[in-house]
């Protein structure tokens, strides 16, 4: 597949795409992203007409419906210099699947290619984009964490080291290993309701690993996977929870 060259995002204004699920369900994650980016002196813009990237429709095969939503995204972010997304999955949608969605569209393909070239997942933007590995953060108390590698960030964008590097440099944060950290949690969008029993069995394997993990908190980069895992942990009255990496990092900002 043709992948556009990616210009450096250093010193540019960031247009934040918080994702539909962060906007409506986990706004605190979005605020944490803002806190961290401001801490780094990044100028932030929030295009208020933003909605969703189109992934739910695209992954279910409804390409025409997904295309309409993606078109809306391209219009809303037409003036962006850099787009930062606190989700590997939504970033992968924009970076890779938009190129498929608009492959036969000479009007919108250049816009899709441009959006793909300037879109960064949150930890990727900090480590690869800005070249920062130490955010100079300190958690109020010592805490142990383990990372669940969300599938699309890991296997479509090639991420994983970024989150580990950032956390390793946070004072009072200790990293443990989560068994089968790269195994899917079973979410998969509508898969989780269409194939509920299969998705539930996959989730159970993940929950068993989380419950046996020495870390108190599991960290991931996607709120959708977080919803699946926390939904199961809460249902089973586990004391463990999964948090978004931005939330944990932002906790280190507090004086």
């Amino acid at each position: 597949m043709y992948l556009p060259e990616r210009p450096s995002p250093k010193g540019k204004r960031v247009s934040l795409f918080v994702t539909c699920i962060v906007d409506m369900v986990y706004p605190a994650v979005g605020m944490s992203v803002v806190d961290i980016l401001e801490h780094l002196g990044v100028e932030i813009d929030f295009p208020e007409n933003q909605t969703c990237c189109g992934q739910p429709g695209y992954n279910s095969g409804y390409r025409n419906d997904a295309r309409e939503v993606a078109l809306h995204f391209l219009r809303v972010f037409a003036d962006a210099d850099v787009i930062v997304v606190p989700s590997g999955s939504c970033a992968a949608m924009i970076r890779h699947e938009y190129l498929t969605l608009f492959a036969d569209d000479p009007v919108w393909l250049p816009h899709a290619q441009r959006a793909a070239s300037i879109t960064w997942e949150f930890t990727e933007f900090i480590v690869q984009g800005l070249g920062i590995t130490d955010l100079k953060l300190r958690l109020p108390q010592p805490q142990t964490f383990a990372i669940h590698d969300a599938c699309h960030g890991l296997r479509i964008l090639g991420l994983g080291e970024e989150a580990r590097t950032l956390l390793a440099n946070v004072e009072n944060a200790a990293l443990e290993d989560l068994k089968d950290a790269d195994a899917c949690c079973g979410f998969g969008g509508l898969f989780s309701v269409k194939m509920a029993d299969v998705s539930g069995a996959m989730l159970q394997k993940k929950i068993d690993c989380i419950n046996h993990c020495p870390a108190a908190t599991i960290i991931t980069g996607d709120t959708s996977c977080m919803t699946q895992m926390n939904g199961g942990l809460s249902r089973q009255k586990s004391v463990k929870r999964v948090r978004h990496i931005a939330d944990v990092l932002a906790e280190g900002l507090k004086k």
């Binding site: 539909c20 979005g30 095969g61 419906d65 309409e68 939503v69 699947e97 509920a196 299969v198 996959m202």
Partner: protein, 468 residues
């Protein structure tokens, strides 16, 4: 074999609740997955990755040149004394094999493992014609004894625990009690010896056909493949047309990556390159060797965007790595080929209408592509198949309506904000268990509460609170 893939959801539900199956499949897939990792990357990650890309390039080149390579393979196999037959359909294969069997007045047929013979339902045809057929691969032998179908393309009986197999042998063959797998294997081995001696015909599949040398290549572990192809007077190899490769150099790479991916072995135990029947100066071997080249839908796939699936070398690595297969096993997929590659091949070869749940039986986690020795982009093809399901109206109406509403709601910021407000209010009063499609969610998980204020409001407040 009959296609029964449209029952995926209900068969999978039974599978995830079957403790014996769960024990067997999680052990089997774990072993396959972890041994593969060691074998592929024992010389470093870069080396393993390079081998993958090399193998992928070879298989893609072979598929690009498929028509020419098939003609070349036929010419060179014929020159080697192999009788080449072309079968367009499953029925053609059965008729060809039965013709040979009748001509040779065959009473007993010995088979080594061949997925394509399952695909064309060959055993059934033999039985209908009063010819005894015995599977000689241990896994396939167990499947035949238990009157089942294989659930994995490399380890056909992965879905059974050792206990279940022991009980089967005791029940059907009066095997003395043992818990030792080696003893069980030795018992069957003795049992099978006489089959090799008495068989009139040996039938094998084929892992590759090398076009430039006209060789039928077999990669096996138990030695039964060698017996089946050497002891009976007639050997018939049944091979899909997509198994042709160009050169012996290609084979050198592919025969390294196949056992590494399939069973985590650096090298297979038995590697055969069959170049025709017994020569005059040779003491043993078959008088006749046939190779039946099978289309059975493959040439139709060749012209579609699923042609990439034809590069598959049937190693089963994607099955072992797949988190869905790990909890469902193979039978839910309803045909010969299961797991992620089966979810593409079954609809592509037998028709999407016969396998509508399969493209959806994936969380799109991408592990299948990651482990594939020839880098097949299975998630891409699953997405294309899902799109086809929608285009052909083969989806549930409730999702058609739901996704249309989603699309309209997400094209307009006003509707998006309104939808959020409704959900925010609604999720406060949700019961623990929901009806309809969302009931699938609440069967295993609590529903997330929508936040009191969306991000866009928090953002506005923050901007106001700050001097500009």
């Amino acid at each position: 074999m009959k296609v029964d893939a449209n029952n995926f959801v209900s068969v999978a539900q039974i599978a995830v609740n079957d403790p014996d199956l769960q024990e067997a499949v999680s052990l089997g897939t774990y072993n396959g997955y972890s041994k593969r990792l060691v074998a592929m990357f024992s010389n470093g990650h870069e080396h393993g990755e390079a081998m993958r890309q090399q193998a992928a390039a070879m298989r893609r080149r072979a598929i690009q040149k498929l028509p020419d390579l098939l003609e070349l393979a036929e010419k060179n196999m014929t020159a080697n004394g192999i009788k080449v037959l072309w079968a367009e359909t499953a029925e053609d294969v059965r008729n060809m094999v039965l013709d040979i069997a009748k001509k040779r007045n065959a009473k007993l047929v010995a088979k080594s493992k061949s997925m394509i013979s399952e695909e064309v339902a060959l055993n059934h045809a033999f039985e209908e014609n009063g010819i005894e057929v015995v599977e000689t691969d241990l896994g396939e032998y167990i499947i035949q004894l238990n009157k089942e179908t294989p659930s994995h393309i490399v380890m056909p009986v992965m879905h059974r625990t050792k206990r279940e197999i022991r009980d089967l042998f005791m029940r059907e063959l009066n095997m003395p009690f043992t818990d030792d797998a080696a003893e069980m294997t030795a018992f069957i081995r003795k049992h099978l010896r006489q089959v090799f001696v008495n068989a009139d015909i040996g039938i094998s599949g084929g892992n590759f056909i090398i076009a430039e040398s006209g060789s039928l290549c077999l990669v096996t572990n138990e030695g039964n493949g060698r017996m089946v192809t050497a002891m009976p007077k007639v050997h018939i190899g049944i091979v899909g047309i997509e198994k042709v490769i160009e050169t012996i150099e290609d084979y050198a790479t592919l025969t390294q990556i196949l056992p590494r991916s399939a069973t985590g072995q650096q090298m297979t135990v038995y590697m055969q390159m069959i170049n025709g029947p017994r020569r005059e100066d040779e003491p043993d071997g078959p008088d006749e060797v046939y190779v039946i080249l099978v289309d059975n839908g493959r040439s139709k796939v060749y012209a579609t965007k699923y042609a990439e699936a034809l590069t598959c070398i049937r190693c089963g690595a994607c099955l072992n790595a797949c988190p869905v297969y790990q909890v469902t096993g193979g039978h839910a997929y309803g045909w010969v080929y299961s797991g992620p590659i089966g979810a593409v091949i079954t609809p592509a070869l037998t028709g999407l209408e016969n396998a509508t749940p399969l493209p959806q039986a994936s969380s799109l986690c991408g592990k299948c592509k990651q482990v594939c020795p020839v880098d097949i982009d299975i998630p891409r093809m699953l997405l294309d198949l899902r799109h086809e399901l929608v285009e052909k109206g083969m989806t549930d109406k409730i999702f058609d309506v739901g996704l249309k509403a989603w699309s309209i709601g997400n094209r307009s910021p006003k509707l998006f904000i309104m939808g959020g407000a409704v959900a925010r209010f609604g999720t406060r009063f949700l019961p623990n268990r929901l009806p309809g499609p969302l009931g699938g969610w609440t069967k295993y998980r609590d529903f997330p509460q929508f936040a009191p204020k969306p991000f866009r409001e928090l953002w506005k407040e923050r901007k106001k609170g700050k001097p500009s």
